[in-house]
Symmetry: C2
Subunit: 355 residues, 2 copies
C-alpha cells in the first residue's frame, strides 16, 4: 500500500481511508505515511510506535504544528469509500472520511507541497486517539519526545466544518458494577438479579438533562451517556454482575475533579470507578496566534464539543484550535461523509496562509 502525496487532496483522502486503521491497527497506514514522507527529501521524518512526525528546519521565527490522528472507530460495512453527487455537491462517504482522514489529507498535502513555508512546519500523525486516553499516541509523544512537538501554534485536523472550533470539552469514563447473586433462573428468589439492579442507573441516565454553558463567549453542551453495558452468565442463570460504562462530556469551565464530584452527586449511593479521563481546554481565541489564524479563515469561530488533543497542546502551553473539513456531528456515525469542496477549501486556506 503506497500513498502519493502529490495526488489531488480528495484522491489522497480516499487512499488514506481505504487503508483501514481502526485504533490499535494503524501500523499499515503509519508505514504508508512514513514511506511517502521519506520520499520527499525536504522533511526530517521521525517515528515512535505508530506515530509519524515530519518537520522543516528552515530557521523561521515561528513554528506551526499540524496534527492529526491516523486511527478510526470500528468499521461498520462502510469501507471502501464511495462518492455521491458531483462538483460542489460531491460527498465522500466511508469510515474515516470525516473523522479525520480528510483533515489529515490537507495537512499531508501542505507538508509535501509547501516546501518553503513562511513558518517552520511540524506534521504530527499519531495513533490511538479513538480509545482510552492512556493509549493516545500524542500523549505518548509528550512523554517520549516532547521536543518533537515544540511549536508556537497548533492546528488539529479534527472535523470542524472548515471553520475554527476553539477549545474542547473534557471527558471522563466511569464504571458502575452492580453486584447480585447467581442462582438458577427457575428459582430467582434464591438469587439477586444484577441486571435488574441496573434499572435505576439507566433511569438516571435516561432522565438526565445535560448542562449548556457559555465559556469565553462560546456555548458548550455537555453529555452523560452509557457507552457499554454487559451482564449475564447463561440463559438459565440469574446474573450475579452487570457492568455499566458511562461517559461524561463536560464544558471547559469544569476541571476533571469538578466533573467527578458532579457524577458522584448524580449517582449517589453507587461506587464509581474512573476508567479514563481528560481535561477540557478553554477556547482561548484571544491569544494572538489563534486570533491571526481565525482572521485568515474568515468564518465565525464555534465551540468544540468533543474532547480533542487541543487539550494536550494547551497543557504543553501551545495555543491550539481545531480546523478541518467535515461535520463533527457525522463523526463515528455509520454514514460519516465529508463534502469534497470543504477538503479543497481547507487545503487552499492552509496553503494561502503558509506559502
Amino acid at each position: 500500500m503506497t500513498l502519493d502525496l502529490h495526488d489531488d487532496v480528495v484522491s489522497l483522502t480516499r487512499a488514506l481511508c481505504d487503508i483501514p486503521s481502526v485504533s490499535g491497527a494503524e501500523a499499515a497506514l503509519a508505514d504508508a505515511v512514513e514511506a511517502a514522507l521519506r520520499k520527499l527529501g525536504h522533511l526530517e521524518v521521525l517515528r515512535d510506535g505508530d506515530a509519524v512526525v515530519a518537520r522543516t528546519n528552515l530557521g523561521r521565527d515561528r513554528r506551526i504544528v499540524l496534527a492529526g490522528h491516523l486511527d478510526t472507530v470500528p468499521i461498520k460495512d462502510n469501507l471502501p469509500t464511495w462518492t455521491t453527487g458531483e462538483g460542489d455537491a460531491e460527498l465522500l462517504y466511508g469510515r474515516g472520511t470525516c473523522d479525520m482522514k480528510a483533515g489529515l489529507a490537507t495537512q499531508l498535502r501542505i507538508a509535501a507541497t509547501v516546501t518553503e513555508p513562511r513558518h517552520d512546519l511540524t506534521l504530527v500523525c499519531y495513533d490511538n486517539e479513538e480509545v482510552a486516553s492512556v493509549k493516545n499516541g500524542l500523549g505518548r509523544l509528550v512523554r517520549n519526545h516532547p521536543e518533537w512537538l515544540a511549536g508556537d501554534f497548533a492546528i488539529l485536523g479534527e472535523p470542524s466544518n472548515a471553520g475554527v472550533e476553539g477549545g474542547c470539552q473534557g471527558t471522563m469514563r466511569v464504571r458502575i458494577t452492580l453486584a447480585g447473586k447467581a442462582s438458577h433462573a427457575a428459582r430467582a428468589w434464591a438469587g439477586r438479579n444484577a441486571i435488574h439492579l441496573a434499572a435505576p442507573v439507566l433511569a438516571i441516565l435516561a432522565a438526565y438533562e445535560p448542562r449548556r454553558v457559555t465559556v469565553d463567549g462560546l456555548e458548550y453542551r455537555e453529555g452523560l451517556n452509557a457507552v457499554n453495558i454487559q451482564g449475564g452468565i447463561a440463559g438459565n442463570v440469574i446474573p450475579d454482575a452487570c457492568v455499566v460504562d458511562i461517559n461524561h462530556r463536560f464544558a471547559p469551565d469544569r476541571s476533571v475533579d469538578d466533573a467527578y464530584a458532579h457524577l458522584c452527586e448524580v449517582f449517589a449511593g453507587y461506587d464509581l470507578e474512573i476508567r479514563d479521563q481528560a481535561p477540557g481546554a478553554r477556547p482561548g481565541l484571544d491569544l494572538p496566534a489563534a486570533a491571526e489564524f481565525v482572521a485568515v479563515v474568515g468564518r465565525e469561530p464555534a465551540p468544540k464539543f468533543g474532547w480533542t488533543d487541543v487539550a494536550r497542546f494547551a497543557e504543553l502551553g501551545i495555543p491550539a484550535v481545531n480546523y478541518a473539513p467535515g461535520d463533527p456531528l457525522l463523526a463515528h456515525t455509520d454514514d460519516e461523509h465529508v463534502p469534497t469542496a470543504q477538503i479543497r477549501e481547507c487545503e487552499r486556506v492552509l496553503r494561502d496562509w503558509l506559502s
Copy 2:
C-alpha cells in the same frame, strides 16, 4: 479417564464431577460413562452423539426409565470437588455436585449393581440440558430413537432434596432489541442511546411481581428475569443497539402460547423475539406409577420449579417425576454442593424399590 461403577456412590459422584462436562463439551464424560457401562455385561449399551443409553432386556411387565443429563453450567473456580464436614454433616462441593452428577451417580450405581431388577431398567445419560432447548440431548433421542425411551414410568435425576418433586414449570426466553442511532459521544444529541432505551424494560423487570399458583395440589412460583444484556460499540460512541434476553418461568397451568401472550402484555409496545421455549408439565402424582414411587420414598411431594425434561416424558405419555439428592436452590450457584448422606439415601431408596 475411567469410571468404576462398583465404587462407593459418593466417590463415583466425585469422579463424575471431576471430568468437566460443560454443555457442548460432554464427550469425555460420555466416553467414560459408555466405557464403564460396556464393561458390565448385563446391559445393552447404545450411543447417539454424547447421549448414552443402557438397558436390561429381562422381559419384565414394567420398564422404569432412569434419566439424567451429563452436562453442567460453566465452571466458576469450583472444580475439582472438595468436601467439608464428616459423617451425616459431610457436604460435597463443586460444579455439578448438585445439578446433577449426584443423581446421575445413584442411577449409574443401580444400573451397574442391580443386575436382576424387578422391573426392566433403561438408563439414559444425555447431553446439552443446560442450554437452548433445541440442543437438548433427550430431545434429540426423542427424534432419532424414540424406541430407546420406551417405558412405563420415568425418574429424572434432577436435584429434589431426596424427595419427589412433581411436574415442572415451563420456560420461555425472549429477546428485546432496542434500536438507537449511533453518534459521537461528545454530540449525543445527534444520536439516540439504545442503552438508555432499555431503562423502561429493566424497570418493568425490576417491578414485576411473579405469580404463585396451585396446580394439582402443589404451589408453583413463576419468574421473569433478564438473563443477558449487551450494548455498546466503543467508549466514545453512542450505542445504536442494546439487546436484553429475558427468561420467563411459568406454572404448568399455562401453555407456551399463554405465556407468550402474557409477556406481550407485560412488554406492550416492544417486539419480542422468541429464542427458546419449552412447555411445563402438570405434576400428575395421581397416576398409579407415580403414586407407587411416592409411597416408597415416604416424603411429602413438592412442586418442581425449574423446567426439567419431565416435560419431554410427559409429551411421550410417560409419567415422570424428579427425584435425586441435592437442594435445587443450589443448582447453578458458585457454591453448589450436596449432602453426601442424601446421595446414599437416594441410592438406598432406588435399590430397595428395584431389587
